[in-house]
């Protein structure tokens, strides 16, 4: 079996986001970037399935500027076999990303595509589901447990009400939640080895798919700030404030 895992380069989750004064977006210059956190879970799960012997090959793909290659290198350093970098210097919406991934899937013919459930920059939560629809494959989103069978995969999904278990036929798209596993760190020898693993280079606009954006970003602004509150001296004062000032209890 073969897995394609999609990884995205985003602003590191520990970075405090700063909105640009002109409303055109957020500051990205000299900001620490890293792999989208649930994409690390997707890579980890793919590599674990390979280590279990059920999967023969793990291919990591990213779409983005030159530096996005770092996310593929990182996936290679934790156990993916080879990489694909689809170059694009501009932001592409999930719909366009899904179309590009579909092209890659048609060429690579994986049995499963693993992705993070959501990217922490645009917070769209669309790409995996869109890709599944375009391929006419089943999907399992928000996965927190993956059990691979011969011709299907059983998935425990994190839903608002609790947990849901579904079984989907292969090939399938799986989007990963943060509790699926504990992503490993790459060891130095593996980082060195990853430098020798091949990364295919493609260019997004040469793939013959319509990746024009349909949603125009008019402005980006800071959310309204909360006014500074007060510190209370003790529990009695807290209860009194809640009762008499805020009137919420």
């Amino acid at each position: 079996m073969k897995i394609l895992v999609a990884v995205k380069r985003v602003i590191d989750y520990n970075v405090q986001i700063r909105v640009k004064e002109d409303g055109s977006g957020v500051h990205t210059d000299n900001v620490k970037m890293s792999t989208n956190p649930p994409d690390d879970n997707a890579t980890e799960e793919s590599v674990k399935l390979k280590e279990s012997g059920k999967v023969k090959e793990v291919v990591a793909v990213t779409i983005g500027e030159d530096k996005a290659q770092e996310t593929v290198r990182k996936a290679l350093a934790v156990g993916a076999d080879r990489g694909i970098h689809v170059k694009s210097d501009t932001y592409i919406e999930p719909l366009g990303i899904a179309k590009i991934l579909k092209k890659i899937v048609e060429k690579e013919k994986p049995d499963m595509v693993f992705l993070g459930k959501q990217a922490i920059d645009d917070d769209c939560n669309q790409t995996g589901q869109m890709l599944a629809a375009m391929l006419n494959w089943p999907q399992a989103t928000f996965s927190s447990k993956v059990t691979l069978k011969d011709k299907s995969v059983e998935i425990v999904r994190e839903i608002d009400e609790g947990l849901e278990t579904v079984e989907v036929n292969l090939p399938a798209v799986v989007t990963c939640d943060l509790r699926l596993n504990e992503p490993r760190y790459a060891s130095l020898p593996n980082i060195m080895k990853a430098k020798k693993k091949p990364i295919d280079q493609l260019v997004a606009k040469d793939l013959g798919v319509d990746i024009a954006n349909r949603v125009q970003q008019l402005k980006v602004e800071e959310p309204p700030k909360r006014k500074a509150g007060i510190k209370v001296a003790n529990v009695a004062e807290l209860v009194s404030k809640l009762k008499n000032e805020a009137k919420v209890i």
Partner: protein
């Protein structure tokens, strides 16, 4: 111009967040039609028909729609979307699961997690875990939109009498199977809609100590929340998690206990009307957004809090 909204339900009753999505849909266009797809779901169709802002109910009943598998639901929505300019659902795990499949089938770039409707094509949505708000304009002819339910008031439930029309089912692909759903049962109000939420973090130090939280919650008729750290440490199940990767809550009162206030947690609760933080670390970031901060050892403060609450003659319900 009209909106097709997809109802979330459990085949018996409408889920409350659908009412919030109906409010948002009415701001897009007054002609709101609701699709109820389920199995043995007649009562849900009746409930939706009674919502005054709903103009028509499309009801499709088939065992194929019992568990809202996205592979089955999306083709149905796609088929019935023809006459509509907008397709709308809640941005919770129900809407997030199937809506992008509909958008892809229609070649539409979806607008996710809308918190404000500026017009039929212009919306405000949070990005970067709510650290920025983007105003976006959809240039697609038809639009797929998911709504953050807690950003809109629920629509009134009774007084309407919309027509219920049978909607034709479509073929299903038969490549996915529902196995089971383990819903967390609770006597307390639901986290997403509760008026008061009491949340615990890693500061609780163990699952047993969460009793300090649940005692307060029961006294206040509140829901119980948790930080990701507390969930990951195994103190409490994941459906209690508040934050970017959990639930977004907007209660009248949010009490954060032993929670330092990581960005990921704040994203899930910082729109709450009143925020209380109880933490022994006076420098914890949670204090910077709290209306009332109490710098104290929670193991002393919580029993005291409970006894102070017990002294009150009345507590709002």
């Amino acid at each position: 111009m009209s909106v097709l909204l997809i109802a979330e339900h459990n085949n018996k009753n409408l889920k409350p967040f659908t009412l919030n999505a109906i409010t948002a849909a009415s701001k897009i266009d007054a002609e709101v039609h609701v699709l109820v797809a389920g199995s043995g779901s007649e009562n849900v169709a009746k409930e939706v028909a009674a919502v005054p802002s709903v103009k028509k109910v499309l009801h499709c009943d088939s065992p194929n729609y019992q568990n809202y598998l996205p592979e089955n639901l999306a083709p149905l929505v796609t088929k019935h979307s023809e006459k509509y300019d907008h397709i709308v659902a809640s941005a919770n795990t129900f809407g997030k699961n199937f809506m992008p499949r509909v958008a892809a089938a229609l070649d539409i770039s979806q607008v996710s997690d809308v918190i404000k409707v500026n017009g039929p094509d212009t919306f405000v949505r949070p990005i970067y875990a709510g650290n920025a708000f983007a105003t976006v304009k959809s240039n697609d002819k038809k639009r797929c939109v998911t709504i953050r339910p807690t950003s809109f008031e629920p629509a009134p439930k009774i007084g309407g009498s919309a027509q219920i029309e049978k909607a034709e089912a479509v073929d299903v692909p038969n490549f996915s199977k529902f196995i089971k759903r383990e819903e967390t049962k609770s006597e307390r109000p639901e986290l997403g809609t509760a008026r008061i939420v009491v949340s615990g973090g890693r500061g609780l130090e163990s699952g047993e100590n969460f009793k300090l939280i649940t005692d307060i919650a029961d006294k206040l008729n509140a829901a119980v929340g948790a930080s990701r750290a507390a969930v990951d440490a195994g103190y409490i199940s994941n459906d209690h998690q508040v934050g970017q990767t959990g639930k977004v809550v907007v209660p009248d009162l949010y009490i954060a206990v032993g929670i330092s206030g990581a960005i990921q947690h704040l994203a899930g609760m910082k729109e709450s009307k009143i925020i209380v933080a109880i933490n022994k670390d006076g420098e914890a970031p949670i204090f910077s957004i709290a209306d009332y901060g109490l710098e104290a050892d929670l193991f002393k403060a919580l029993p005291e809090f409970l006894s102070e609450l017990n002294k009150l003659n009345t507590i709002q319900k």
